[in-house]
């Protein structure tokens, strides 16, 4: 993009593969270059990243089971092995599980009333039709499982048609992808034994919508495990899955809301609580110290932002699994506030066959800080509970805790701190670490529709950059409401929202200025040194 930087970049990293970490330490250029090699871009972790490395959204569309095996190696956790899953799959065990889930997630019913009320609407009304995005889940028998708006009952015939279309096309050994009409698209995703359908009035590409349906699919899987899901439908073709899911629809509802707002799900990355590295390292250390035999991941969240994550060696957490955890916590926070929660959870990207068991608790009832300890052992509640207390003690001993609480209270950062007048907002994702950062939305974008509009714009840019056959390196778009810029390099992914009156010259300088700034702030905005037990 910028002539001189360009060539310099070419020169320094011509080999293109990851250099040694130490080597990096010195060599990290402070202004990233177009083809900044992965792991050297701002926000790149020092050790291997804490996440399953996500190239981009593509890996979502690959079949679940396939990534399951590719990810979970060496042979994952005692419980997670297929064998035990079978037993888990037997009906009464299944029911057990079912209860367990319910006991946990049914608690916040009241919160989910809000949604359930909105569901009672006439599906022939314009109101219903004009929703920005419908999502339907149905069984291959055409039985309704979930609908974002309107009751499943009212929609059963519609869903019947959907299923008919799917199977009609399949009859020609063909696959239905989507239907396009003026102002809205219908997108189909059939993941046996489920069929998911989105009807969207947004400008998102089919691929974006499919990706969102994937999220919904995995959300459901994470509640039941794929094994159980398959088992149920093999067992009873037109089983009404709502019986199993009832009470947890709000998880899907909330996830859908997140998809419209949270860039993290778009970028396949998570954002961190800005925190001086010294403090963060302290927190991580305390978390690392509080380990237990069965512990696989310890995750500390501040609201929807990650504070730190410690993992078992060679065990990677896929960002999607993490997002599902977030979703679980955020959409049922109230239930975990008092006391400690103990819930089975399937991390489908890690292993869609089995359940983990998550110990979920808030450090303090009032606080935003939520600790999630993921264990392989169903019976291990107390040892994990113990881990939590050890962690808290260590943390309290250090002053890190105070700083942490301060950081949580203060909102993220404002774009003004970057000091670029033309800049309104941006997203920056460090590819290797799977982390992204972005400032608070400025005043003009805070209203719900503005926020969703902006997200929509980012989504458009994203899907253009990652187009499966015509990918782009960079996009610059002048519009009536803002000028946008997107830039994809091997190291990072950057999206800028600028004032529409910015000139191209200004824009280009803005980008470089911004990257310098991020480099300057990286140890506060990112987790540079993730830990393992």
């Amino acid at each position: 993009m910028e002539g001189d930087v360009h060539s310099k970049g070419r020169a320094s990293w011509d080999l293109g593969n990851l250099p040694h970490v130490e080597h990096l330490r010195i060599e990290r250029p402070d202004s990233p270059t177009p083809d900044l090699v992965e792991g050297t871009e701002p926000g790149a972790g020092q050790q291997a990243a804490m996440f399953v490395h996500s190239r981009s959204v593509e890996d979502l569309t690959t079949e679940a089971d396939r990534d399951a095996e590719s990810r979970v190696e060496p042979q994952p956790v005692a419980d997670g092995d297929p064998g035990s899953c079978e037993t888990l799959g037997t009906s009464e065990n299944g029911l057990q599980v079912e209860e367990k889930i319910i006991e946990v997630v049914q608690a916040p019913k009241e919160s989910s009333w809000a949604e359930s009320r909105t569901k009672e609407e006439d599906i022939c009304s314009d109101g219903w039709r004009s929703h920005r995005k419908h999502v339907f889940v149905l069984s291959e028998a055409g039985k309704p499982i979930y609908s974002r708006y309107g009751t499943e009952e009212a929609l059963s015939s519609t869903m019947g048609v959907m299923m008919a279309l799917v199977s009609f096309v399949e009859a020609d050994r063909n696959i239905i992808r989507s239907i396009h009409a003026d102002g809205y698209n219908v997108v189909f995703l059939s993941k046996s034994p489920l069929v998911l359908v989105a009807v969207s009035r947004t400008c998102q590409s089919d691929k974006e919508l499919v990706r969102e349906l994937q999220y919904i699919y995995y959300q459901i899987v994470s509640l039941l495990t794929l094994t159980q899901l398959n088992h149920i439908f093999q067992h009873k073709q037109n089983y009404d899955l709502r019986r199993l899911l009832s009470g947890s629809e709000h998880l899907i509802d909330n996830l859908l809301r997140q998809l419209d707002r949270d860039p993290g799900l778009l970028l396949s990355a998570v954002t961190c609580l800005p925190l001086p590295s010294s403090y963060r390292d302290a927190v991580s250390a305390s978390l690392q110290a509080a380990k237990a035999e069965s512990l696989v991941f310890s995750i500390l969240l501040a609201g929807e932002r990650l504070v730190t994550l410690v993992r078992k060696k060679d065990q990677f957490l896929h960002h999607m699994d993490l997002h599902l955890v977030f979703n679980l916590v955020c959409s049922s926070s109230s239930s975990f506030r008092e006391g400690e929660g103990w819930t089975p959870i399937c991390l489908p990207k890690f292993n869609s066959a089995g359940f983990f068991h998550a110990h979920i608790s808030y450090l303090e009832p009032a606080s935003e800080l939520c600790l999630i300890l993921v264990s392989t052992d169903r019976e291990d509640f107390f040892s994990l509970s113990d881990c939590k207390h050890r962690f808290l003690e260590r943390l309290r001993k250090r002053n890190a805790y105070q700083a942490l609480k301060e950081a949580v209270k203060t909102p993220s950062y404002s774009v003004d701190q970057v000091g670029i007048l033309e800049l309104r907002h941006f997203l920056y994702k460090s590819k290797s670490s799977g982390l992204f950062t972005s400032p608070e939305l400025p005043g003009v974008y805070q209203s719900e529709e503005e926020q969703e509009r902006l997200m929509g714009l980012y989504q458009e840019l994203h899907s253009r950059l990652h187009h499966s056959t015509r990918p782009l390196l960079s996009i610059y778009r002048c519009g009536e409401t803002e000028n946008l810029m997107a830039w994809l390099t091997s190291g990072f992914e950057l999206y800028l929202c600028l004032t529409p009156l910015v000139t191209k010259v200004q824009a280009v300088t803005a980008v470089n200025k911004l990257l310098k700034w991020i480099r300057k702030e990286e140890d506060r905005l990112f987790i540079l040194s993730p830990l393992t037990y």
């Binding site: 696959i175 992808r177 989507s178 009409a181 219908v186 089919d206 782009l472 996009i475 778009r477 191209k504």
Partner: protein, 473 residues
């Protein structure tokens, strides 16, 4: 990829094309009645019924989400299906097979086929489908008209007759942005010569009172149209992609001038009919001309289409179909128009070459661009070689053309001015500019250029090519 031995690439192709009207066979077992035309005809009956059924189902299904705006296209792994309802409950459906790659497998396993699902652009083929209808309408009038005139018995053969031939002329592999615009290329001309043409047209129309509308073209580019825009648009399409190519012979602008002296000397002329009688002298000559339908305040009117050409200048005379065209009339026309047109043609040519000389020899333009103005349908492309009946050759990689298509879609969504500059993986820069009703697409092959330089390039282009129009910057 490279490792795989000779994989076969298949371009998008027409799977089927059919016209149906659900209201014609409402009852069980009558479904066949709905089908008015089906290509390929050899498909067996139940298959036809099945496919039409699916279309109906999808239309119904989409109505549940927007009763007024039903389906436009259906994407499946193997193909794209395009829907168009030009007249109330008459549906035209075109099914295009996605391009695919056939990869041979070792040890005699059947080759694996990969469908390239992102290659076919809805906007492009949707436009192609609408064009099919417009073309039918140009020569046959609306479906409704046929129905009034003679019911299904009349309509079906009309459809057969027209589409049988027309579908063969579709070249789906070479469709692109230009089909979306289906614009008109105007011939650049100085004011004076233009005025000469004006008075020529006026004089002829005064002289041959029968002539209702006239259109004047040179080098297959439009100079004057007495028809309204939309009619001219489709007529122009017909002339440039079908009629002219059929009669094409090396009539390159250069030759006209050479002819000048002998022409002005004795009034021999080079005029001849492209439609109607091939040779006036021939006593057997038939004076039948194609009929076309154009819009009027109240519905449409039927016209004879006379296309008369002298060297590179072609004139369309349109005469109400109600009058019988006689040999005498044609001879009068020939005698009147022939000489004048011949002269005019060489005038235009002279002017043209003159202007060229002024503007300097036209070297291969360093800018590859497509320009289109929705207001007057003016279209300009340095990307396409001269469109022939068969294929329109583009001088850039198809993927770049598709990127143009993508940008065009973005523009179509909102009617705000917009500018998009993208850098493709191939290091090509593609710029899309939309100002008021105009769209400009530029492709730059400057690998190491940066955004600013690219912007400068485009500015330069606008300054040279479009300095006479208002382009928001």
């Amino acid at each position: 990829m490279a490792a795989v031995t000779q994989e076969k690439q298949y371009t998008p192709s027409l799977l089927s094309f059919f016209v149906y009207n659900p209201s014609f066979g409402p009852r069980e077992g009558e479904e066949e009645k709905k089908i008015l035309f089906y290509h390929p005809s050899e498909v067996e009956k139940n298959e036809k019924i099945r496919n039409v059924g699916l279309c109906e189902a999808i239309v119904q299904f989409t109505r549940t989400f927007c009763p007024t705006k039903p389906v436009k296209s259906l994407h499946t792994q193997k193909n794209r299906q395009f829907f168009f309802e030009p007249e109330d409950s008459f549906w035209i459906v075109m099914i295009v097979r996605n391009p695919m790659v056939e990869k041979p497998n070792k040890d005699g396993k059947p080759p694996t086929i990969e469908y390239q699902e992102e290659e076919v652009l809805d906007t492009v083929y949707g436009a192609v489908l609408r064009q099919c209808y417009s073309m039918y309408k140009l020569f046959n009038g609306t479906f409704g008209r046929a129905m009034e005139a003679g019911g299904v018995e009349l309509l079906i053969p009309k459809l057969e007759k027209f589409f049988y031939r027309y579908l063969q002329t579709l070249h789906l592999q070479s469709c692109d942005l230009l089909d979306v615009f289906s614009g008109i290329s105007f011939f650049p001309l100085d004011k004076m010569t233009y005025l000469k043409i004006q008075s020529f047209v006026n004089r002829v129309e005064e002289n041959l009172r029968l002539v209702k509308y006239t259109a004047f073209l040179y080098n297959d580019q439009l100079i004057w149209s007495g028809l309204e825009q939309d009619d001219m648009r489709i007529l122009y399409k017909y002339l440039t992609t079908s009629l002219f190519p059929r009669h094409s012979e090396p009539e390159l602008a250069g030759r006209d001038c050479a002819l000048r002296p002998e022409v002005s000397g004795n009034l021999l002329h080079y005029g001849r009919f492209l439609t109607g009688p091939a040779n006036l002298k021939d006593p057997e000559a038939k004076f039948r001309f194609p009929r076309i339908f154009v819009h009027t305040e109240d519905g449409s009117e039927e016209l004879h289409l006379i296309v008369y050409k002298a060297m590179s200048a072609a004139v369309c005379f349109m005469i109400s179909a109600s009058v019988e065209l006689t040999r005498d009339f044609c001879e009068r026309l020939d005698a009147l128009v022939g000489p004048q047109l011949t002269l005019l043609a060489s005038d235009i040519c002279e002017q043209f070459t003159l202007n060229r000389r002024i503007s300097g020899p036209d070297k291969e333009p360093q800018f590859k661009f497509i320009y289109f103005n929705h207001m007057n349908l003016a279209e300009k492309s340095t990307i396409h070689m001269r469109k022939t009946a068969s294929v329109s050759l583009t001088s850039v990689h198809p993927d770049l053309m598709k990127i143009l298509g993508d940008i065009n879609c973005d523009f179509a969504r909102v009617d705000e001015d917009e500018e998009v500059i993208v850098k493709a993986m191939t290091d090509y820069w593609v710029v899309g500019k939309k100002s008021d009703q105009r769209e400009l697409y530029v492709i730059l092959n400057q690998k190491n250029a940066n955004l600013i330089e690219v912007n400068e390039e485009v500015k330069r282009l606008c300054a040279t090519q479009f300095n006479n129009i208002f382009f928001l910057d």
